[in-house]
Amino acid sequence: MTERRRVVVTAIGMVTPLGVGVEATWRATLRADNGVRPVQRFDASDYPVRFAAEVAVPGSGAPLKQTLALMALDEALAGGAPAAGSRLGVCLGSEAARPPLEWLFRSEAPKVSEIAALAPDAPTRLVAARLGATGPRSTVSTACTSSSQAIGEAVLRIRRGEVDTMIAGGVDVLSEPLMVVGFSKLGALSTRNDAPELASRPFDAHRDGFVLGEGAGMLVLEEREHALRRGAPILAEVTGYGCSCNAWRITDSPPDGRGAAAAMLDALHDAGLTPADIGYINAHGTSTPQNDYSESQAIHRVFASPVPVSSTKGQMGHLVAACGAVEAILCVLALRDQQLPPTRNLVDPDPACGDLDHVRIARATHGALKHTLTNAFGFGGSNGSLVFSSAEGSGQPR
């Protein structure tokens, strides 16, 4: 039996509500800085929710999505772009952008470029064109699980030998009038207008919903030998991917967390690890009453003894189609720096979520952290989990 091709992370880039760039975001995440503020992009004074986690980048809608995707890509490629051609592919998590409301009322037709930019695969096409990537190109649109599944899909393609390198990641822009209206009508958003900085509080007893965020995360994934041959820095290895469907209800998650547990177990199985090997879980932890309860039950089902857990959505809100990629990058950085990022605003852990080892201030692991797991669970019941392992053993640790 031939050995499975191993997949490593050789470069990363991201733009988030906490900052432009990997190091800015990482430092702010470790400090548990706040990325949630009153909405700046439009006048939200009459809205039931008047805050969001916006990026400090001008623009809105589809053009901003494209800008963020390229900013994250450019950072990831700062050390050099992968060779163009058919051995390079792109797989991004992204959703269709909504046409601006003004279009419905203005007399002149939107430009062709404006319409084309709304397509869910517009960022994927843009990234592939920028790189001259003629290998496999796909766009995953599975709500909050999109970019987690995009990374998984990219890993599978490299393992099979279809490509040597994949650009994987995700992008989303959510601070838009109809998003705020729609998700607030759904009752999914925090309404803590008097203190937005306290609104996103995963696993806290007083959480009341998620905070709309936005951003982009890009990872350069390579077959390990390919990376070693070209002397690329290896930041971490992607060792496991698992996903599942809840097949429960459109509007909520099963209270026993079984679907989420299945995704985590699949990812562990794929990595050849046991739950005891995992040293940190970056939870989906949206700060909604249902998700955090359901996810905590899933963690208890999989992990017999407590594992350090945090949700970085406390700092930066919910990046939806981009959250899987950004949180995967945070797991890579946790392994690189041996630091566990905390959950902001977790003051009073919800007893209903059981006895979790919450990371409430950044925690140093002094070389003990070998494997991390990150979760992403989407509306409609799609679950994705990824396992990242330290570059140690992959050669040429940075």
Partner: protein, 263 residues
């Protein structure tokens, strides 16, 4: 190796895969003037009548959560799954391809009208009366992965999954993902499909502006993939001819990546 164990289709030329193939090969077309597209330079579309969801929806109240693509998908997926062995749903994978999900104008119309003043968007009304009238479940109806969500819920499919977005290539990607999930042992069976509806004014108008002059269509194709040797002969070329399908059923987006399976 994998083989196709079941197939289900919903098209404007009917729901029987072999009959649809025969009609397309014979030059039949479902394109006809559509009142929905009134005002456009070409009002032709290939619209599906129905579909009848009786027997394909466990809870009738879920119907209000179904956008058009999900409505088309449920009967097609259900027919494809008829041969799924009992007890196998738990580990069955499901991969779906979708196009750009159009906003559900009918649901949102009262809200949108309430946002207008003198033919312009009035932002005060958007945050006020427009917001009050906005349908609370609309976000859950129009998310692109809702086709996958409804299919998995209705049939209890809990395995690996994914929603690919885009054109015909996305349909082919969904099929390939399903085949590989079975071949690589990650799922004993996998459902693959695509569902699309472009027969609404907003989408059709955008298509015209983009220079996509093929009339819009709507359809769903799902197949159940399982282990085994493939059966059958390669398709006659004309059945795999995308243009022939487009002349018969309009532009069906990602479903076009699966037409060749109907042979």
């Amino acid at each position: 190796m994998t083989r196709i164990l079941g197939i289900g289709v919903v098209t404007a030329l009917g729901d029987d895969p072999a009959a649809v193939c025969k009609l397309v090969a014979g030059g039949a077309s479902a394109l006809a003037a559509s009142a929905t597209l009134a005002g456009l330079p070409d009002t032709r579309a290939a619209s599906v009548v129905g579909p009848d969801l009786a027997g394909w929806l466990m809870r009738k109240k879920d119907a209000r959560l179904l956008a058009r693509a999900a409505r088309l998908a449920l009967p097609a997926a259900g027919r494809a799954l008829v041969g799924l062995p009992a007890g196998a749903a738990e580990e069955t994978a499901v991969f779906v391809a979708v196009g750009r999900e159009p906003p559900d104008d009918a649901d949102a119309e009262p809200s949108l009208l309430a946002m207008e003043r003198d033919g312009q968007l009035d932002r005060d009304r958007l945050g006020g009366r427009g917001r009050e009238l906005y349908p609370p479940l609309l976000p859950l109806k129009t998310l692109p992965n809702m086709v996958l969500a409804h299919v998995s819920i209705q049939h209890g499919l809990r395995g690996e999954n994914g929603t690919f977005a885009g054109d015909a290539a996305a349909g082919a990607q969904a099929l390939r993902a399903a085949e590989l999930a079975v071949e690589e042992g990650r799922a004993p069976f996998a459902l693959a499909g695509a569902s699309f509806s472009g027969v609404d004014l907003a989408s059709a108008r955008d298509r015209w502006r983009l220079g996509q002059v093929a009339p819009p269509g709507e359809a769903a194709v799902f197949v159940l993939v399982g282990p085994g040797e493939p059966r059958g002969e390669p398709l006659p070329w004309r059945l795999a001819d995308a243009e022939a399908w487009e002349r018969a059923l309009g532009d069906c987006g990602p479903v076009a990546g699966l037409w060749h399976l109907l042979g």
